[in-house]
């Protein structure tokens, strides 16, 4: 076997189609060309998949760059929902959702929570009254080590249904360098091209910035699947509905930073609570379109109580280094076909790498401003 080739008469060698007649140097040209072509094709395929050679593809980087273009680059901060505050406490399951999801936290147990209240936008110094939306992000860590991370907003629907539309919305909202405000013509053109934003805009017209994180209701907006022990799936959305609904919210708009102080004042008097209300979809309810609310008559399960006990600044609190990626889910909760979910996961990861690199003072990054130097 070893010596077969050397003993075989040259004529018995099967002629290879592209085989050069001799091994003389000039005839190697075609083989070299083939090798170069194979390498070049592999590099091109890699470049295409990695989007370097597909510049029109929407990437997490583009989304996060656009957020920075709109609000400025603030080292060490999240690129969206930049202004916020850490909270901690626990979730007390009541067993109400256990028949729909096998996640242990829905049993009658306490699960540790590290959370964050924030307002949307990439500017960590934005006035609290600048937007009528507040957000609640939670990380629940089960005893088995699995986690449920969720980011919710105090609005009934999301303005757009797809990552591409979200990107276009951000582009339309980019401040004009001349005025420092978004160009009204661009916004008008965007909304005209995106009629799915109508429900959100109708809500935003009358929505007022609340005076407290404590009195808001926070909605998952995106749909998810609960999966029970038998493997049965149920499409759901959830929201955190506050125990407190006092009228102090009417006194909104005093100063620019009233939300954190309000939260600290309330927590000094005792824990704050929310019901976790899980809405069960009926067949046909849209799970892939966060611009569409489900009908009001859908049944809702009270899954337990969120108890928030402590708050701390985000620059030093336990929420600072948590990426509230909505696709970090325990067994028993799964992503739906909502196209916003993978985009959120991908963009949050990009933002997380940028801000952790800044916190780590890696070369080529801007170190975060010291707290006392912040405006």
């Amino acid at each position: 076997m070893i010596d077969r080739d050397s003993t075989r008469p040259p004529l018995s060698t099967p002629p290879a189609a592209n085989s050069p007649p001799t091994n003389s140097a000039p005839s190697h040209g075609r083989w070299w060309a083939l090798i170069v072509a194979v390498v070049a094709l592999t590099v091109a395929a890699f470049g295409y998949v990695g989007s370097w050679l597909a510049p029109h593809r929407l990437t997490p980087k583009k989304l996060v760059n656009q957020l920075q273009d709109n609000a400025g680059t603030h080292a060490g901060y999240r690129r969206n929902h930049a202004k916020g505050v850490c909270v901690s406490g626990y979730f007390e399951g009541n067993g109400g959702a256990a028949e729909y999801s096998e996640a242990p936290l829905f049993g009658k147990v306490r699960t540790t929570v590290v959370g964050r209240f924030a307002i949307p936008g990439g500017n960590p110094y934005a006035p609290d009254s600048s937007v009528p939306i507040r957000s609640m992000a939670l990380r629940l860590t089960q005893a088995n080590g699995e986690q449920w991370r969720t980011g919710m907003n105090s609005m009934p629907v999301f303005p757009v249904a797809t990552p591409q539309a979200f990107y276009e919305q951000l582009q339309a909202q980019q401040p004009d360098p001349a005025t420092g405000k978004p160009d009204p013509a661009k916004l008008k053109a965007f909304f005209a091209a995106h009629p799915e934003t109508a429900a959100f805009r109708a809500w935003a017209k009358t929505a007022k910035p609340s005076a407290s994180f404590a009195t808001d209701s926070y909605d998952s907006l995106n749909a998810f699947d609960f999966v029970n022990v038998q493997g049965k799936r149920q499409s759901v959305r959830w929201r955190m509905a506050p125990y407190v609904t006092d009228s102090e919210a009417a006194s909104a708009g005093i100063g620019t930073n009233y939300l954190d102080a309000d939260l600290a004042r309330r927590l000094a008097q005792g824990p704050l609570r929310w019901h976790l209300l899980v809405t069960l979809a009926q067949p046909g309810d849209p799970t892939n379109d966060a611009t569409k609310a489900w009908p009001d008559d859908r049944s809702t399960v009270d899954a337990g109580t969120l108890v928030i006990e402590h708050t701390s600044p985000q620059s030093s609190g336990p929420c600072r280094d948590i990426n509230y990626d909505p696709l970090v889910l325990p067994q028993g909760i799964e992503a739906s076909d909502d196209p916003l979910l993978p985009a959120r996961s991908a963009a949050y990861a990009d933002s997380y790498l940028r801000r952790t690199s800044e916190e780590a003072h890696l070369p080529g990054t801007t170190a975060p401003a010291a707290p006392e130097k912040q405006p």
């Binding site: 077969r4 080739d5 060698t13 083939l34 194979v38 990695g50 952790t356 690199s357």
Partner: protein, 214 residues
Amino acid sequence: MTRDPNTFALPARVLHWLMALLIVAMLFIGVGMVASVSARHAWLVGIHKPLGIAILILVVARIAVRLRHRPPPLPAELPPLQKLAALASHWLLYALMLAMPLVGWAMLSAGGYPVMLSESLRLPPIFPVSTTGFAVLRHAHTWLAMLLFVTFLAHMAAALYHGLIRRDGVLASMLGGAPSKSLDHQLPKRTTGRDNHAAIVSADPSVNSSVDLG
């Protein structure tokens, strides 16, 4: 049966081609998932993590095979610089194959993420939760991946160079299996150091018997 000393041992060849497929797929999955906001992102991440651990297990097995079975020698007349490049790139490939999954696992640990290989299979953290640790490891994961991709390109180009231009049996030593069907054996061969080596070895009757059976 005595192994043909000019080819890699069967387990080495099986591991090589299986891992070649998995690692190249992994590199494309990696750059694809971080550059995507579509549903592709989530399912590619879902493949990336368990596949990385599979590669980690396979590379440990492969190093054991490598230590147990000496690989066939390089052709004697190969220029020293090319021999050095071959040796260095092979050890770099082993190092990267081992490092990439470990860095990925450590990076998720440092970021405080549960390391989920499936809906329910969770690996323990192998690095303390640390912002700096996460940032450094996450960047290292990307740059080591780029280095692995470039090393893979060089490895592939060198294999083709040996198979198409030098025709010295180096490519055949990894193709193995059915050498008469391999590209190397379809092409006119030059007399090489490898052949000389084979001639010396085949003076051993036990090898000759296997040659006769072959």
